[in-house]
Symmetry: C2
C-alpha cells in the first residue's frame, strides 16, 4: 500500500524572527492527516532566493506533494517564485492569462507593479478556484500558497479533495507503565508489525498516565493485530484507557 508523501515549505523571515507565529503549517498538518497524506517534512527558510531554491529542489525531488507558504506578494521580500524558478532552472515569464486577469481587475490602475504579479516560473500551471479571486499556481508538484493565514486556508480548502487517499487508522493506549520497563517488549512488537507505526510518549505533566503508546496504519487488520500484541505486553492493572 503506497502512501503519498508531502512536505511543507514555509518561507518567511517573520516566522524565524518570531514576529509572526506560524499558523499555516499547523493548519496543513491536520488537513493532510485527515486526507490520508503522509507529511514527512517541514522546512522553514528565510526570504532568500537561494534558500528557497535549495529547499524546493530537495523537497520536490523527494516527496509527492510540496506546499509552499508565503513570499508571493509584490514587494522585494517576496522571492518564492524566483526561488522555484531557480530550483527547476527555468526562466520567469509573464503568464498571458494572469496578466489579462490583472488588467481586468485593476483596470486603468494596472501598471508594471501590478503586472509583475503575472511573472511566474515557466511551465507554471493555473488551478482555477471558483470561489477565490485568483487562480492558484503550481509548478510541477509544488503548490504555491500565500502566507496570509486566511488566504492560505481558503486556497487550500478549494483544492484539498484532489489529495484525498485512504485514511489512517489509529489507536492510543494510556498506561502507568514506565517506559524503561516496556522498551524491549515494545521494540519487539514494533519489529513484528512493520505496517504499523508505533510511538511512545512519556507524560510528566499530569498524574493520570505515564506513557501514551500510539499505533497508526493504513491497514485496519494490521492495526488490530498490532493492538492485540501491544495489549499483551501491558499490565492490565496499569492500563488507564484505550482510544
Amino acid at each position: 500500500m503506497s502512501v503519498p508523501t508531502a512536505a511543507i515549505l514555509v518561507i518567511g523571515d517573520e516566522i524565524l524572527s518570531g514576529k509572526t507565529e506560524d499558523q499555516n503549517a499547523r493548519f496543513l498538518i491536520r488537513e493532510l492527516r485527515e486526507l490520508g497524506v503522509a507529511l514527512k517534512r517541514i522546512h522553514v527558510v528565510p526570504d532568500e532566493i537561494e534558500d528557497v531554491a535549495a529547499a524546493v529542489r530537495e523537497l520536490s525531488a523527494r516527496f509527492v506533494h510540496v506546499f509552499t507558504s508565503g513570499g508571493v506578494g509584490p514587494t522585494h521580500d517576496d522571492v518564492t517564485l524566483l526561488g522555484i524558478a531557480r530550483a527547476f532552472d527555468v526562466p520567469i515569464v509573464r503568464h498571458p492569462e494572469l496578466a489579462a486577469r490583472l488588467k481586468t481587475h485593476f483596470g486603468v490602475d494596472a501598471d508594471e507593479s501590478h503586472l509583475r504579479m503575472a511573472d511566474v516560473p515557466e511551465g507554471a500551471e493555473l488551478i482555477a478556484q471558483p470561489d477565490t479571486r485568483w487562480p492558484m499556481l503550481a509548478v510541477r508538484n509544488v503548490y504555491i500558497l500565500p502566507g496570509v493565514p486566511e488566504l492560505f486556508r481558503k486556497k487550500f480548502l478549494a483544492i484539498r479533495e484532489r489529495f484525498r487517499v485512504a485514511p489512517f487508522f489509529t489507536r492510543a493506549f494510556f498506561t502507568h507503565e514506565d517506559e524503561f520497563d516496556i522498551a524491549a517488549a515494545l521494540t519487539a512488537v514494533a519489529a513484528a508489525h512493520p505496517l504499523v507505526a508505533i510511538g511512545s510518549y512519556p507524560n510528566f505533566s499530569t498524574p493520570d498516565y505515564r506513557v501514551k503508546l500510539t499505533l497508526e496504519s493504513k491497514d485496519p487488520a494490521a492495526l488490530e493485530a498490532a493492538a492485540t500484541a501491544l495489549r499483551a505486553i501491558l499490565s492490565p492493572e496499569k492500563l488507564v484507557r484505550v482510544e
Copy 2:
C-alpha cells in the same frame, strides 16, 4: 558585525502526524530572538535515523548553533542520538559518568534498559545543569533537548545565557498604503540599507491598517537611517502608527 546563526531540528512523527502540536520550536524562536541569535532554519523530520543524520549533517555544517528537540528516550522510536552519531560518523559509546549517574539514580533497579541511556555519540559533551536531574548532552555544535515541552524549556533556560549576543533593534510601520503602490520605492530603500532587514506584510483581516513594514538590525544607527528613509516614501496621512 557578525551575527551567530542557529537552526532548530524537531524530530518526531507525532508532530508531522498532528498528534502533538509543536511547542518547542515556538518557544525557542522567541528565546533565540531575545538572545540576539539569528534563527535561519527550522526542520521537522520523522523518527528515522537517516533523516535525522542528513538534517544534522546539513544544519551543523551551515549554522553556528543547532538545537534538536525530541527522540531521546529509551524506546525504539528514540533515534536522535543514533542519527547524530551517523551524521558525524562516530560510534555510540557508553559514557562512564552518565552510566554512574544512572546507577546512583535507579539503584538496584538499574538494568540494561536504563544503562542504554548512557550510550551516546563518541565525543559527546555533558553540560552540567545544577537545577535539573540530568546533564545536557551536546555533540560539537548540536545541543540535544528532550521533546517533552516542560523539560525542553527547563533545560534550555539553564543554558540560555551562554548564547546571548548583541540584541536586535526593530521598528514597525503600520500604514494604509497599498503594497503595489510602494513596492518599487521599498525595494530602493531596502537596497540602500543592506544592514537592515525590511519586511512587508499585508493585512486583510482587520480594517485598522493594510500593510505592516518591519525594520530590523543589530546596528541602531543603521536602523534609524533606514527608518528615516522609509518614512520619507510613505504618505503621512496614510500612516497609522510606528512601533
